[in-house]
């Protein structure tokens, strides 16, 4: 199984990533997930999220998840990009591509990867409030308390 993991502060350029797709002739399904920062993430409207990673451990934990996928599904390739640092509302923070012979495996592996990532990969996000909310920008940003995932 090919793996390509990118953790970067650069914007996620989906068309460019699509242009680099490698898909062998026996593959029938490519599933993509793009996770985008929402304006109403958490109780307040925000202008961005600030993502922080414990990068060395994050990379290792992603690799462990890729190992599990390789053992469970006939996936040819996974590419995952997680943007860190400041990501503005309406911009992607996560992009995943899973290529497999059939769609059932591709969907299952993609969902497993995202679900597990949200459980074990050490990445955190904090809301960047709008400037009009003034005072709160002086103190440390509060943690984002949301139980509902994306």
């Amino acid at each position: 199984m090919r793996r390509e993991l990118t953790i970067t502060t650069d914007p996620i350029e989906e068309p460019a990533l699509l242009g680099k797709r490698i898909l062998s002739p026996s593959m029938g399904a490519a599933v993509y997930f793009t996770g985008v920062v929402r304006a109403n993430e958490g109780p307040d409207r925000i202008q961005a999220l600030n993502y922080e990673a414990f990068e060395k451990m994050a990379r290792h934990q992603f690799e462990l998840l890729f190992d599990q996928i390789e053992a469970r599904w006939p996936v040819e390739s996974i590419r995952l990009v997680h943007r860190i640092g400041r990501v503005a509302v309406n911009e992607p923070s996560l992009w995943v591509e899973v290529i497999a012979p059939h769609r059932a495996g591709a969907f299952a592996a993609c969902q497993f990867l995202i679900d597990e990532m949200k459980r074990v990969v050490p990445i955190w996000k904090r809301p960047v409030p709008h400037r009009s909310e003034g005072k709160r920008e002086l103190g440390p940003e509060p943690p984002l308390k949301t139980e509902q995932g994306r």
């Binding site: 414990f54 060395k56 955190w124 904090r126 943690p143």
Partner: protein, 81 residues
């Protein structure tokens, strides 16, 4: 022996610290280290049940026995994606 402890996300705010070196007895467990550190930071104490603990790049449980020079990480639930 000494281990390094690193905090992530808002644990850095509530401890006012990114990293500290902690002296522990030989044979100490990750749980004992966690208690020792939490005793110093009341807000960390309050979050003990939801705190995730790693040694190096792997999650470990409270009964994991630490080695001199280990790099321990304490952090709140992860939120990637």
């Amino acid at each position: 022996m000494n281990v390094t402890v690193r905090f992530y996300s808002y644990f850095k705010d509530i401890t006012g610290c990114e990293e500290l070196v902690e002296s522990i007895p030989a044979g100490a467990t990750l749980g004992q280290l966690h208690e020792q550190v939490a005793a110093r930071f009341p807000k960390l104490q309050a979050m003990r049940n939801s705190t995730l603990t790693a040694v190096g790049v792997d999650y470990q449980t409270r009964d994991h026995i630490l080695q001199d020079g280990d790099e321990v990480a304490l952090f709140p639930p992860v939120q990637g994606g």
